[in-house]
Symmetry: C2
């Protein structure tokens, strides 16, 4: 659904000469004009009340299929290793049970309420659940298409080569409609970095799609896997279509190790996704962006069997980025916002993203005096506009096709 809307009295971020309030006209889903004397007969009018207008927030990494939102509290007694969490989750998926369709819908609605207009979701594909997760999240993608754009990554959470049959299921997921090939810790989980990455890049070639690899591997092991990813990305000309998520190895403190790797990532056109984890080495976002690397962010799983945290709010995530990277100055907090907006859009290859004429009418209104306040305090009660339609108001997703307009 593409709507038309005249949004009066907002302060669009990043628009020259628009720190003062102005109006934004969206016509048939796209931004048509900005200015203070726009006329648009028959177009509904929405009063922005002087709020800050940001382009829709970009949730670049989450797991819509596995949140426990709306279910009874899950008492977490899981062991400390990565494999403990992976195995516990496979068991819980059956035992609870976790329905990917229902849970992805709940999770996506929460994300929309906070202002995400685009979501990339990794979705588990394995020999126990098959492609049922993919089918469930695709149903949510279609049901919520008017409210949010959802991009699915076929994700071999339990390993690709170590669990025979998974590769065939990945192919099935990509045929069904997942748009991106996922991968996971080529050394630490799949125990065969060459085999894992050749399989992932092979799928991407056959299905003409991008790649997004979870790389939790720390230190030199992670650097090694990153080098293998860089080599393949350059060899097959996939600049701009490969993302490495988490990239814990970039949190190593030694610049003599990290600086050349960062330069190679920039040259290869690989995007980096961070959750800004407080307890783990994390990519230094300011240094990466200064080196020309596209950096985006995600919530990762929220309130699932891995952990109880998260609320799908990408402005709160921007705060986490700020806290993790010790960003304190206003110009630094603008970098944190860029990561959850324009940088995220670049990472996901969005073609018409922004607040200038011609861009998609995906806008979130935030009651903040400045961008730094929007990040540091991430005020709630937002208004969210998708392709010119108000889809959430006062922090609540609106129901029904006819959206309430205050004019």
């Amino acid at each position: 659904m593409a709507g038309s809307l005249l949004i009066r009295n907002v302060r669009p971020y990043g628009i020259v000469c628009a720190t003062a309030a102005t109006d934004i006209l969206v016509q048939e889903g796209r931004i048509a004009a900005l200015g203070s004397a726009l006329a648009a007969d028959g177009v509904p009018v929405f009063d922005g009340a002087g709020r800050l207008a940001l382009a829709g927030l970009v949730e670049a990494h989450t797991h819509l299929d596995k949140s426990l939102l709306g279910m009874p509290w899950y008492r977490n007694e899981v062991g400390p290793r990565l494999i403990d969490k992976i195995e516990n989750e496979r068991a819980a998926r059956k035992a609870l049970p976790i329905d990917p369709g229902r849970q992805s819908r709940r999770h996506a609605m929460l994300a929309v309420s906070h202002g995400s207009t685009v979501i990339r979701s990794h979705v588990d594909v394995d020999t126990e659940c098959g492609v049922s997760g993919i089918e469930g999240v695709m149903a949510t993608r279609d049901a919520l298409a008017d409210r949010v754009t959802i991009d699915l990554v076929a994700f071999p959470q339990s390993g690709l080569l170590v669990r025979p049959g998974t590769l065939q299921l990945m192919e099935q997921a990509l045929r069904l409609g997942a748009g991106t090939v996922g991968g996971l810790d080529p050394c630490a989980v799949d125990r065969d970095p060459k085999g894992h990455l050749d399989a992932v890049f092979g799928l991407a070639d056959r299905f003409s799609c991008g790649i997004d690899i979870h790389l939790h591997e720390p230190g030199e092991m992670g650097m090694f896997s990153m080098e293998l990813i860089i080599e393949r990305t350059c060899a097959v000309g996939m600049a701009g279509r490969v993302m490495v998520s988490h990239a814990s190895c970039l949190g190593m403190p030694d610049p003599s190790l990290i600086d050349p790797l960062v330069a190679a990532i920039a040259d290869a056109g690989i995007a980096i996704m961070t959750t800004a984890p407080a307890a783990r080495p994390a990519p230094p976002v300011k240094r990466l962006i200064q080196a020309g690397v596209v950096v985006c962010a995600g919530s990762d799983g929220i309130r699932d069997t891995w952990g109880p945290y998260g609320n799908a709010d990408m402005l709160e995530r921007a705060m986490f980025i700020g806290l993790r990277n010790n960003l304190r100055r206003d110009d630094e907090l603008e970098i944190a916002l860029d990561i959850v907006t324009t940088q995220g859009a670049k990472a996901l290859g969005l073609q018409a993203y922004g607040l200038t004429p011609g861009c998609d009418g995906d806008i979130v209104l935030v009651d903040a005096e400045t961008v730094a306040e929007a990040v540091a305090q991430h005020p709630g009660m937002r208004t969210v506009i998708k392709r010119g339609c108000v889809v959430a108001q006062d922090g609540q997703v609106l129901n029904g096709q006819v959206l309430r307009i205050a004019d």
Copy 2:
């Protein structure tokens, strides 16, 4: 003001056999009984609606005198060094100006709205502002005494010995009514660790009060200062009356360095305060508590010239503790809650803290199924009860002496 209140239908955390809902009777400010058939003629009744009941949250380290809450957005363009922030703040205090009385009142009210019933505030004492900060926060302490208990630390933010005259002002602050002697980075700021600590312990001896030292110093320098603090604490028998705030040096990764230091801190009876900073080495809270160290937490400055973050919510701070220390299991999140409740109370030497009969009637009601949910999701809209009086409802501090009771 001490009130009486029958709080019906709540689930008190930590009370054996009370995971089911029960009632709490507060009489004349103290918890009189828990049970399901309490009779109390003439006592107002409050329906807790099945919420989780926690003992009042303990904000063990903040700076009430310097928040910019309610003032126009402050554009932060401050340099990267600690001294840049200290000097910038002294200039901003005059230029903006920052009124410690007004700002501490705003800040404390926000803290109360989130459920803090006890606050320890460091208050700057220096040769430019003198004791005006102390006077302003004392006015707030007295004005809000019915709502929150405020404990003042006389804090030489700009250095104690490096700025002659500060020691005399510290004495004046302690005579006025500050209850604790503060200190700051004996090596890094005051450049004379022996002189600084002898002065701090000397003041504590003369005024018969406790000590709370900001120790940002990292690595071996911080370990050295910590050793000097331990030596003095043991020598003068101040176990239980000395706190080291931040204690960044405890975030060093080498257990062969840290373990003996942690054991010495436990033996000396020194409490450790953490903000759980994401970008800095931080005390490992679980290891400290297992070693017998009392660990509490604080917001530090909120929304001030040092940085734009913070909202004075100690349940959100418990979440930061969980994220920083990679606490994921429910039993681990209970440790995070303990830090902002019972551990905080121990650290501040509160005598009648808890949810058992005889304790102060300081209670916060949270709409969470479990303690882990209260920490990870830190739901808003809390009810806050101070000495048996409802002081905040739906996340808003109530005004006036007659508090609204829904019965």
